[in-house]
């Protein structure tokens, strides 16, 4: 999974650390093993590596100084937000310095008239919304880890969430970033306006998984919240009924705010955790959320319910209160954590064309059965972004490799039906060696030449995203 550490760098460790002390304040540098242990891994906890050192800068200038030093002396850098990557995007290597943005967590400017907020990269996703919610505004992308994950990490992974069916993902909600290149150059991309003046570099930086530079500040759009929102639970006796309901809702011209899907295994796990009232007798559950005034929501729900009835829905239960709404979303957003209580799991993130959902679901069942494992499916049905959770025992190495093999088969299937390897979690190390399933050598070469325009020495998040054996042929 990891390249061999550079022995020459390891040998220079004390000199590197000594120089870093001159670049950041003393409490912004961690060099002891116990201190570094917290930075060994991320949410892909099966892998861990002790970094050379950890720096926690407090300003863009400090980030720039650290990067320039690392660039000039050939030291690799692994950027880190909150370390919630499910793809190993923040796992360090032994010859790399971790650059964490956790101490850059200030809100810099809120502008309601121009509908933006400017924050440092270490601000958490949820705290952006919290900063503007008293005036009825919110920041739209809402990944399940929003309590912990940072806007810098969201930008790196182009994070989505349950509500991006209506409001889009990170890239659709960012107006500008301050980006530091590996040589220390500080660039402002985008700004306060709705489109960019030159090439859309903001568009390529979002989702680049720390390969191109380190974002230290972001200007993001804030939107006025709808008057109210109401999630409704639809329990189906078959996955087909649920799948067809999704397709017919969209065909009818209705775009709800969210359409989330859970299979029986996921329903049981989430209900045991959240007591949200999910129907335990259902084979498949849809959580569909509509928003607007009461009359609007009633009118839209009438249409949705009649489509669901035509597809054999068993249970329809509308949220009747804010408490119920919170419980319904808590159950969904805790799905990964709740699953972690019953088993270890690998979370896949492929996206498929929504017309292929039913087929892919049944194939996932077959694949996992073939490896003698179990799966729980919980995902964003409206946009085809699947999250099969492959359950296994991490203490059993044979089971671990079976789970990884099953995951690879599932992702290949996603690509075969016209989808992609990852919708919102990123490639990281986890899917790096599958990139050729989706891209030709020519596609990868073009991406690598673009990458080289930002980081010609391959120092930023080096072991991630691109297969090792395609890197020398640009």
């Amino acid at each position: 999974m990891f390249s061999e550490p550079d022995k020459e760098i390891l040998a220079r460790r004390s000199a590197i650390v000594k120089h870093l002390t001159s670049l950041v304040s003393s409490d912004g540098l961690i060099t002891d093993r116990d201190g570094c242990r917290a930075y060994e891994t991320d949410a892909l906890a099966a892998y861990r590596k002790m970094p050379l050192a950890v720096v926690l800068p407090t300003s863009t200038d400090e980030v720039s100084a650290v990067l320039k030093f690392c660039h000039d002396t050939g030291v690799k850098v692994v950027p880190r937000g909150a370390g919630t990557s499910l793809a190993g995007g923040a796992i360090p290597t032994e010859d790399a310095v971790v650059l964490g943005l956790s101490r850059m967590s200030r809100v810099l400017e809120i502008n309601y008239d121009d509908r933006f907020i400017r924050v440092e990269a270490g601000v958490t996703n949820l705290s952006i919304t919290s900063a503007v919610s008293d005036r009825g505004f919110f920041y739209a992308p809402d990944p399940s880890s929003q309590l912990a994950c940072t806007i810098g990490g969201n930008i790196a992974n182009n994070s989505g969430g349950a509500h991006c069916l209506k409001y889009g993902v990170t890239t659709n909600n960012i107006l500008g970033v301050r980006l530091v290149l590996i040589d220390g150059t500080i660039l402002d991309l985008g700004g306060n306006s709705l489109d960019s003046g030159g090439l859309d570099l903001l568009g390529v930086v979002v989702g680049s998984e720390g390969q191109l530079g380190i974002v230290t500040e972001a200007t993001v759009r804030i939107l006025r919240s709808a008057e109210a929102a109401r999630p409704v639970l639809f329990g189906f006796p078959s996955s087909d009924g649920a799948g067809n309901t999704v397709a017919e809702i969209i065909a009818a011209g209705i775009i709800p705010v969210a359409i989330e899907y859970m299979d029986k295994a996921a329903i049981e796990i989430c209900e045991a955790f959240s007591k949200a009232g999910y129907p335990l007798d259902a084979e498949a559950l849809l959580i569909i959320e509509v928003e607007g005034s009461k009359a609007e929501m009633d009118a839209m729900l009438d249409r949705i319910i009649s489509i669901a009835r035509a597809n054999g829905v068993q249970t329809v239960r509308e949220s009747k209160s804010a408490i119920e709404t919170a419980a319904i979303w808590k159950g969904r957003k805790s799905a990964f954590g709740a699953t972690g209580r019953v088993a270890d799991y690998l979370c896949m993130d492929g996206t498929v064309p929504t017309g292929k959902l039913a087929y892919v679901l049944s194939q996932i069942g077959e694949i996992v059965k073939r490896y003698g494992l179990r799966v729980a499916n919980v995902f964003h049905a409206g946009d085809g972004n699947m999250h099969p959770l492959i359950l296994y025992n991490a203490n059993d190495p044979a089971e671990q490799s079976k789970a990884e093999a099953a995951g690879n088969d599932i992702l290949k299937l996603c690509v075969e039906v016209g989808g992609c390897l990852t919708g919102e979690h990123g490639v990281g190390i986890e899917k790096r060696d599958l990139m050729r399933c989706q891209f030709s050598e020519i596609d990868l070469s073009q991406q690598l030449r673009l990458r080289a325009a930002f980081d010609s020495k391959w120092l930023l998040n080096t072991d991630k995203v691109f297969p090792f054996d395609c890197r020398n042929q640009t």
Partner: protein
């Protein structure tokens, strides 16, 4: 060598570009040429056009996705989508009214220019709906990025980078868009007689409301006989009626908000989209300023003290369309000075070639950004044959 390369298909396009690259022969890249008056002029003898590469390559209405070859006329895309009551969300403008061309815009050209319209404030720009591309880079390689699904973070996003790159990095051989259902109904409210600053405050109130405003513009005296401030609400009929009622109450402090008749509303938004009021006189220069709405009226007033201007606002004030006299630098110095430090940008969209060859068309880049842009150009087009110099001199 001179003339037009008119490849029939992607393979042919790739061969044409390989040939030009081998000969280090710069090419003018175009679709139907409806936007050929935009950018820095060049004297290249050869061009490559995607006009013959036409057709819908993929349409799955229940998946909200459409794909097409680059030379497909926009009208064909719109008609195809209309059969299923769907639309391109970003309401692309038609440049013909201001450039006077005959040829219908192509979908590849729309993507190359990141061309969006009034609904951009709600549904995103062209770059937000473009989810997949195939393109031929300056080496003649066929490269794909993105795909047909809406959520995709696999590899670097070449889709957005090429959307709005004006063919300087590659030539599209296929473009795939996310689409949306057409709203069941659209209504527009109008306020009358407001000055620019007050009008933008009214639009800000509307856009800060929970009533899903899909377009917001102000048309001052000079483009209208009396100032008209308009907002549009789209959706299911009961929602639209409710939203208009609530919004009219909210806008009360700015005067009485009247409902425009449906046809008047439709016409006026297509005029806003196409900047039709600035088309004549054809000799005038046209600027497009993108900035924070709260800065817009101040900047326009500032520029108006020095230059003779006509203007209107879209995107709630975040987009200013400005017509000025095209003589000398077409107001470039005054406008760029006024925009400095605002975190926005200005584009000289229409001006005679002699003006466009001597002033910056796109927002000038600071040196570090210019260096990076140059390296990116090299990463796609090492021989610098694709629309070389169209956006920036030497890039």
């Amino acid at each position: 060598m001179s003339g037009d390369l008119k490849p029939r298909d992607e393979k042919n396009l790739s061969e044409s570009i390989k040939m030009a690259a081998a000969a280090k022969m710069p090419l003018i890249v175009s679709g139907a040429g409806s936007k050929s008056g935009i950018g820095r002029p060049n004297g290249y003898a050869m061009s490559v056009t995607t006009q013959r590469m036409q057709g819908i390559s993929l349409y799955e209405p229940t998946e909200l996705v459409i794909g097409a070859l680059p030379g497909t006329p926009l009208s064909e895309i719109n008609q195809t989508l209309a059969t299923q009551n769907q639309m391109l969300p970003f309401e692309p403008m038609d440049y013909r009214p201001i450039f006077g061309g005959r040829h219908e815009p192509t979908i590849g050209g729309i993507a190359a220019g990141n061309v969006s319209g009034p609904r951009r404030i709600m549904a995103g720009a062209c770059r937000d709906s473009l989810i997949g591309i195939r393109l031929v880079n300056g080496r003649g390689d066929v490269v794909k990025s993105g795909g047909r699904v809406m959520k995709n973070v696999t590899g670097l996003d070449l889709v957005k980078l090429n959307c709005g790159a004006w063919g300087t990095l590659g030539v599209f051989s296929e473009v795939i868009f996310k689409v949306l259902p057409k709203p069941e109904c659209a209504s527009s409210l109008a306020l009358r007689g407001l000055n620019d600053a007050t009008a933008i405050a009214a639009l800000t109130t509307a856009l800060g409301s929970p009533f899903s405003v899909s377009a917001a513009a102000h048309l001052p005296k000079g483009v209208m006989s009396e100032p008209l401030t308009i907002v549009r609400i789209e959706g299911f009929a009961p929602s639209v009626a409710y939203g208009c009622g609530e919004l009219a109450k909210l806008l009360g402090p700015y005067g009485k908000a009247d409902l425009l008749e449906e046809e008047v509303g439709t016409d006026i938004w297509s005029d806003v989209r196409d900047a039709r009021w600035l088309a004549d006189p054809a000799e005038s220069a046209i600027w497009r300023l993108s900035l924070a709405p709260s800065k817009a009226s101040g900047i326009v007033a500032h520029i108006g003290r020095v230059l003779d201007t006509r203007h209107f606002y879209d995107w709630g004030g975040g987009l200013v369309w400005l017509a000025v006299n095209a003589s000398e630098d077409a107001g470039s110095k005054v406008i760029r000075d006024a925009m400095r430090g605002l975190n926005g940008h200005a584009t000289l969209l229409r001006a005679p070639p002699q003006v466009r060859s001597k002033v910056d068309i796109f927002e000038p880049l600071p040196p570090s950004l210019a260096d990076l842009t140059r390296r990116i150009k090299f990463a796609f087009d090492p021989d610098r044959i694709l629309n070389f110099g169209k956006m920036y001199s030497g890039i």
